[in-house]
Each structure stands twice: as C-alpha cells, then as structure tokens.
Symmetry: C2
Subunit: 272 residues, 2 copies
C-alpha cells in the first residue's frame, strides 16, 4: 500500500490535527481528539476506538512496528510524516512519532445499566483527572458522570494520564448537580458525597456489596459544592489520623472506589 | 519588635534562601529547606519544625496575619521583604509572600519502633512523592524508608504536595534495597513487594491486623527493581479488572496503605 508522505509544516491535515491539541471546543466541534505514543495508539485500536487518521515517522515505524501495524489497519487515513513534523502533533517533549486522530465515542446506552457510577464534580486538574480515570477502570467502575466545570477528558494530558482508560470508559455529562442526581436517581443509584469531615459516615460502614451507588468526588481545592452536597443522600468519609486535613482528590477517589469494589464480588463488575 | 527590611535583590540572606529552592545537594549540605505559603509555614511552626528564617511581605502580613504570627514567634530571624523580592524566594507562579527557611529534622530514634513502614524505591516524580507522603500521614503510616534514587523530599514541590506531611513524618534513607531490608528485618518487619502481577497474593489476604509490615512501592514506570523483589518476603498485588495494566504509584500506595490501616484497630496507629 502506498502511504502518502507529508513534509510540509503547512499541510492542512497536520494543522487540523494539531489544532485538536489545544482547545476543548475544537475537539468537541470536530468530535475528534488526539492520542500519541506507540502503546497508547495501539491501545486505541485494540479498544475499538474509531481512528480517523494515523501519522507516523519512519523512525517510529522501525522502532515501534509491532504497535503501529494494528493502528494502520484500523485508521481511515494514514500518513508518513517527516521527523520535523512530529513536534507539531505532540504534547510531549520527546514524541515517539506515532499519532492518532480518534473519534470521540458516543455514549452507549448499556452503560446506563451500571450499578456503580463515579461522579466527578469540577475536577479541574488534568493530571488528577487522568489518574482518577485510570484507577476507576482498573477497579472496574466503568461509568463516569462529569458534573459542572470538569477539565476536558479528551485533552492530550488526560488521555495519556488515563493510560487509555478514556477509550473504554463511558461518560455522561451534566451541567448541574441536580440534573445528575435526578438522572442517576431514576436509575436507582444512591448518591454518596465524599467529604473530609469526621462526622460523616466512614466508608467502611457503607454496604457497597448490595444496592446501587453513585460515589461523588469534588474539586481538588474546594471539595463538593453546596448544590452537590444537597442532592446526595449521604455524606461519607475516609477516616483520617493525625494532623492531615484531607486527601488529594485522586487518592480519595482511589480509596473509596477500592473500598466499594472490594466488597463487590469478583466477576460482578459492571461491563455495561 | 523592630523587623529588618530587605529591598535589595542582592541581599545575601535572600540569595542563600533562594539557593535552597534549586538543588538537593544545597539543601543537604546546609541542612535547610524552604517552605512557602501562609498555611504551610504556619503548619511548619505548629509541627515543631525549627524555623531558621521567616520572610514576609507587607501585603502578606495584612492578608495572612493570623497564619504569620506563630511563624514569626518561632523563627530565629525574621525579615520584611519588598514585594519584588518575593518571586526570588518562590517556586510558584503566584507567591503569597510568606516563606520559611526550615531545618531538616533529625530522625527520631522512636520512629524505629514503628510496626508499619512504607518503603519507596526510586520514586522520582515530586508530585507523586508529595501525594504519597500526604496519604501516608493521613492513614497513620508515619515512618517512610527511601531507597535508591528517590527525588528529594525537601524540594519545594514535594513539601507543598505533601501538605506539610514532610514536617511530621520520619524518614530513613538507604542506598541499596538489601540494606533497607536488613535494617527493617532486624526490627521484625516483614517486607511486602507491591507488584502489578495477578499471580501475587491479593492485598486483601494479608493479615495486616497482626504482625509488623514494610510495604514496598517501586518506581512510577518500572516498578520495583530485581534487587528489591529479591529481598522482599512476599509479592502482593491489588486485584485489577479489565484491560488496565497497573495503577499509578501514588494510587497503588494509597490502596495498599488504606487496606493495611483499615485492618489495624483505631487508636493503634504508630505515633513513633
């Protein structure tokens, strides 16, 4: 197969792809986002993410051929780019030279059957967001509700930090906490607000093994909003010792999700 | 009390303090490190950290007087600095204008009695390190062993990310994994290597509630070294689901420490 070569920085396909690195609005309008790196692009292909365009350098083809081949098989268009083009498509200091323009997946209706949902309100730091999504997937919590002003989950940093979890998780979006609580409430989920407050119910006392649960985690600095606290059925907390005042948002999410999934039998995870 | 004012960028006290922001060697030679921000400096004072110098701007004095007063009471020297000096002493984009030069604490012999130790091998990312230390303190694991090439725990980013946990935790340092295992072994601790390997023992099966434990966590990208794996008594793992291959190092630490401390009775934490 003849692969078209791109050597000009002014190539419109390169410019279009590069524009997806910057703004959430661009990605949202186009319905596209960027993934980079051999493993991450191979992961996109393996996860069934639709790949609109694959770009690779000759160096990358030699070094990462094994990762690249399934990506090229899946991609609608493929371009071999000159080495000096790679930095234009990259969000990292040392690009590996493999890039994908991926289609933002549609939400699958089956995800609505999930018995366990992680709700993130105003989580704004891309590093935290990526870590939280990676953790949620690893623990088997596959449905994520984003409330308010969360950072864009398809930004390059979140995509990388999630280690590909964004390709496989199901996302729902809500502007207002009330709307999220209403929607999840209709699906029979009980909303738990995670708070750093030792008067709240310790997470060890929640019967996660029965019932359906929506675990709410708030903003890194400010926690959950009053609006979110008002719509949650219960406030839960991770018991702390000593002088510590709170956990990092991604740590809190990890501990609560672990505690929930620990109590849920093996093989009982949501694969909706 | 008359407080000396500093308006010159060339002030030797400012230069000396600023040099502590850069290199671990500088901090180690001087036995000093920097903390900045109203809450963090107040936390240093409250935690009994010895404060050699306090710097503050007039703006900060007005805005954060409540935090500043205990710091000034504790500090051996205090300077009021002109606003344009603050950025020289800061590691952040928007300094609050309160800075402390703190003395690196000596290790306390009582820490050696700790029944639970977190061992970090080659943890290199300051953000990860800060988060791990914050989590360890909040869960009541107060003794931390640093093995190999960990990042400096007194770098400005770790101090901030730890939310002051570095003021209160006890640290021991080992160049080689063997030396750490020997030392902790003599104190009766069983070494557990945390690995992303589903053939290892699930952490839920470890009887953390009895016995004395050293939990080993490895480098972000490469995990524990062969040398570390060889000296650990057992390999343990956090059961994962789906396609995820591993957890972030700080997430893995959070889940294992949580699981350990969940099983240890309330009030039974190490305060050594």
């Amino acid at each position: 197969m003849e692969v078209e070569r791109i050597t000009s920085r002014k190539s419109p396909v390169v410019r279009d792809a590069a524009s997806l690195l910057q703004k959430a609005e661009k990605r949202s309008e186009a319905g596209l986002f960027m993934a980079e790196g051999a493993r991450l692009c191979a992961d996109a292909a393996r996860s069934g993410t639709e790949i609109a365009v694959c770009f690779y350098t000759e160096t990358a083809e030699k070094k990462y051929g094994e990762y690249l081949r399934p990506v090229i098989r899946t991609a609608e268009q493929t371009y071999c780019i000159a080495e000096h083009i790679a930095p234009l498509l990259s969000d990292t200091k040392h690009p590996q030279g493999i890039f994908c323009v991926c289609k933002i997946p549609h939400n699958l209706p089956e995800a609505r059957a999930a018995a366990r949902v992680l709700v993130l309100e105003n989580v704004q730091d891309p590093a935290n967001m990526g870590t939280i999504l990676r953790t949620a997937e690893a623990l088997g919590v596959l449905c994520i509700a984003l409330v308010g002003a969360c950072c864009d989950i398809f930004s390059p940093k979140v995509v990388r930090g999630s280690m590909g979890a964004v390709f496989r998780l199901h996302f729902e979006r809500y502007v207002r906490a009330e709307d999220c609580a209403d929607a999840l409430g209709r699906r029979g989920l009980t909303a738990l607000a995670t708070v750093p407050d030792d008067r709240a119910v310790p997470i060890t006392e929640i019967p996660f093994e029965t019932g359906r649960w929506a675990v709410w985690i708030g903003n890194e600095g400010n926690g959950l909003t009053e609006a979110a606290l008002a719509v949650c059925a219960q406030r839960v907390t991770i018991p702390m010792r000593g002088r510590a005042e709170s956990f990092n948002a991604s740590t809190a999410a990890a501990i609560v999700l672990w505690e929930m999934m620990r109590k849920v039998k093996e093989g009982d995870a949501d694969h909706g």
